[in-house]
Symmetry: C2
Subunit: 162 residues, 2 copies
């Protein structure tokens, strides 16, 4: 079971966009530069975030991405689902309906016990990610990032934001 690499990139991008002054934007190429990731792949994930209503792309020469809503209103789950989709990790193939004990499909009125156990676990995972917002992450990053990295990041922002 693995989340795609794009999830990490997308969460980090949202965290950076949450730090921008109001109305400021960052182009996809700048977000790729900041995170040291391939621009073409990142562009795909930013488009997924845009389709999910998490970021907005402002057009034009000074255009770029910004968060579409307050960072307190974007959960980590929102970002994960935008990039990785919302399909369950466990997909029941209904193997109970095969083999010598099988009955016609109409006889199975309850979900399989295995599926229900897996669904409960995935709900616990989703609940945990739904309870964390991009604003929460930014607060932690603010407390825990080494001061020298904050200084370097601030210098970079000064240079690229106009």
């Amino acid at each position: 079971m693995r989340l795609s690499e794009g999830v990490e990139w997308a969460v980090h991008c949202c965290a950076i966009l949450a730090l921008l002054p109001p109305e400021a934007t960052l182009p996809a190429a700048r977000l790729a530069e900041y995170h040291g990731v391939p621009p073409a792949y990142l562009a795909k994930h930013l488009q997924a975030l845009s389709r999910a209503g998490i970021v907005t792309a402002e057009p034009g020469a000074k255009g770029g991405y910004r968060l579409a809503k307050p960072a307190t209103a974007v959960s980590v789950l929102d970002v994960v689902r935008a990039v990785d989709g919302a399909e369950p990790a466990f997909r029941c193939m209904e193997i109970r309906q095969r083999g010598p004990a099988a009955l016609p499909t109409s006889e199975y009125r309850q979900a399989c016990a295995v599926t229900k156990a897996m669904a409960r676990a995935e709900a616990a995972w989703r609940d945990a990610l739904r309870s964390e917002t991009i604003a929460d992450l930014v607060a932690v990053v603010g407390r825990e990032t080494p001061p020298a990295a904050v200084t370097k990041a601030a210098a970079w922002f000064q240079e690229v934001l106009h």
Copy 2:
């Protein structure tokens, strides 16, 4: 994010093995027949369960698989990890250590906020699967399986167990 198909097969096999009389075994080919799944693939997953100490393979002409311990002592998480591995679904690539704000690796003493949020969610998922045992699933299956399927399954067991 997706669990492998083998997880479903392996959990169902453990549930069937939990129903066997003491000391009885079922060959891999019978388990494949019962679940309508490809024998060669299932054999691979049964070997993984065996390596994890969840099932035991008895050798010989009348040999086959049985649970290596009571069904109350096998969690769904044990089975998932035996088949799918124990690696986290979110693997942090430390992209915070790239780009213009990066510092030497030794400066990052805390795990990244993103990684910690993902780890908390995965812990919630694991806790849920750890709290469900094969015995719990068998109890639910016993209550919810259509009576006609129980009758057919019992007839099949009569035939294959000696």
